[in-house]
């Protein structure tokens, strides 16, 4: 008992440990731009979830907006649900307010729920550090892939490796995605001060 107390106090930092491949991801109940609340558990027949931490202001996220929308359309028919989450505190980054999320979703015709991580409770549990930052989960919400959408932020037509799509294809054929994680530049998440 003494040991376990020590363990908890010694290893319980302010920020939870970021998810690794194989961890079960937490569900959430977050408000979307359509005013409704969304949870992964709402999608009973989903084969998997594409959770994308993204936002309005970040130029890297903006460059991926159309690709994220296309992915949502493409994989919906295959049973995968794309959920985008804005993790930023609008007090720090006013362009990422819920009102402006609604505006952006309308302008771009987002076909996916664009959720607001109100109170910033969800992104630290995932260990998201930047936008965009993608987590691919299987139907049991187990993390299968973490990282970038593809290998060319500047130009969709110059992409050589579609990391996320390849990872979904691997899941579909019962294989392990390769790579399971990728690195990419992004805008740091704006935490409450």
């Amino acid at each position: 008992m003494f040991v376990s107390v020590f363990f908890i106090s010694g290893f319980a930092p302010d920020t939870p440990t970021p998810y690794k491949i194989g961890d079960k991801a937490t569900d959430f109940k977050l408000k979307s731009v359509d005013g409704k609340l969304y949870s992964m558990s709402d999608f009973k027949s989903a084969k998997g979830f594409i959770v994308v931490f993204t936002c309005n202001h970040c130029p890297f996220a903006v460059k991926y907006e159309d690709r994220i929308n296309a992915l949502a359309k493409k994989y919906k028919s295959q049973g995968y649900v794309l959920l985008a989450i804005n993790p930023n505190d609008p007090a720090v980054q006013p362009e990422d307010s819920f009102e402006l999320m609604k505006t952006r979703a309308k302008e771009k015709g987002f076909v996916f729920p664009y959720l607001f991580d109100e109170g910033q409770k969800i992104y630290p549990q995932y260990g998201a550090t930047k936008t965009p930052h993608v987590f691919l989960l299987d139907k049991n919400q187990v993390v299968k892939y973490i990282g970038a959408i593809d290998d060319n932020v500047d130009s969709a037509s110059d992409v050589k490796e579609k990391y996320l799509e390849n990872a979904i294809a691997a899941l579909e054929s019962g294989k392990t995605p390769s790579p399971e994680t990728t690195k990419a530049i992004g805008c740091s998440i704006k935490a409450k001060k």
Binding site: P59, K130, A148, D151, D154, P179, K183, A184, G186, C187
Partner: protein, 158 residues
């Protein structure tokens, strides 16, 4: 027409003379080999971009470090988009009167080069790398003041 052309060239050349010469690298390993290669220099390498607000905010601390801490050389590696080199990056450097060495890195194969900077770098910026005689100290963090940065650098190079 002639005088117009002459005026045009005058403007082009005078603006070049005022702004610093920013080298562009398409490959990170080339950048490291060509810019961060002096064994007798301690480099403080800051990864930033004009579109990154927290980066822009901490830039003056790096400028001050470069001018006041004689033990180190600051290199600012811009990750700005290539097509905004002349429209955004150069005007920004001129406007902010940046004196530290600035290079533009356009290597888009992040998954290859990010782990060579540091295996734990998630990819968020700002991020800072110290190279001291082959020893590398990396931090994916923001420095809120010159004092904070200077103390961090001094602690890590001594």
């Amino acid at each position: 027409m002639k005088s117009f052309l002459a005026a045009f060239f005058l403007i082009v050349f005078s603006s070049q003379a005022e702004s610093q010469n920013v080298r562009i690298f398409e490959n990170y390993s080339t950048l490291e080999k060509q810019i961060l290669n002096d064994q007798n220099t301690i480099y403080v390498v800051n990864f930033w971009a004009t579109w990154c607000a927290p980066c822009v905010k901490e830039l003056p601390h790096f400028e001050k470090l470069n001018s006041e801490n004689k033990k180190v050389k600051v290199v600012l590696v811009s990750l700005d988009f290539k097509n905004q080199f002349e429209t955004k990056l150069l005007p920004f450097l001129k406007n902010k009167k940046i004196n530290s060495e600035v290079v533009l890195l356009t290597d888009k194969d992040y998954n290859t080069w990010l782990p060579t900077v540091d295996k734990d770098w998630s990819g968020s910026i700002p991020a800072t790398l110290i190279i001291n005689k082959g020893k590398r100290i990396f931090a994916e963090r923001i420095f809120h003041s010159y004092e904070e940065l200077n103390e961090y650098v001094n602690t890590n190079i001594n």
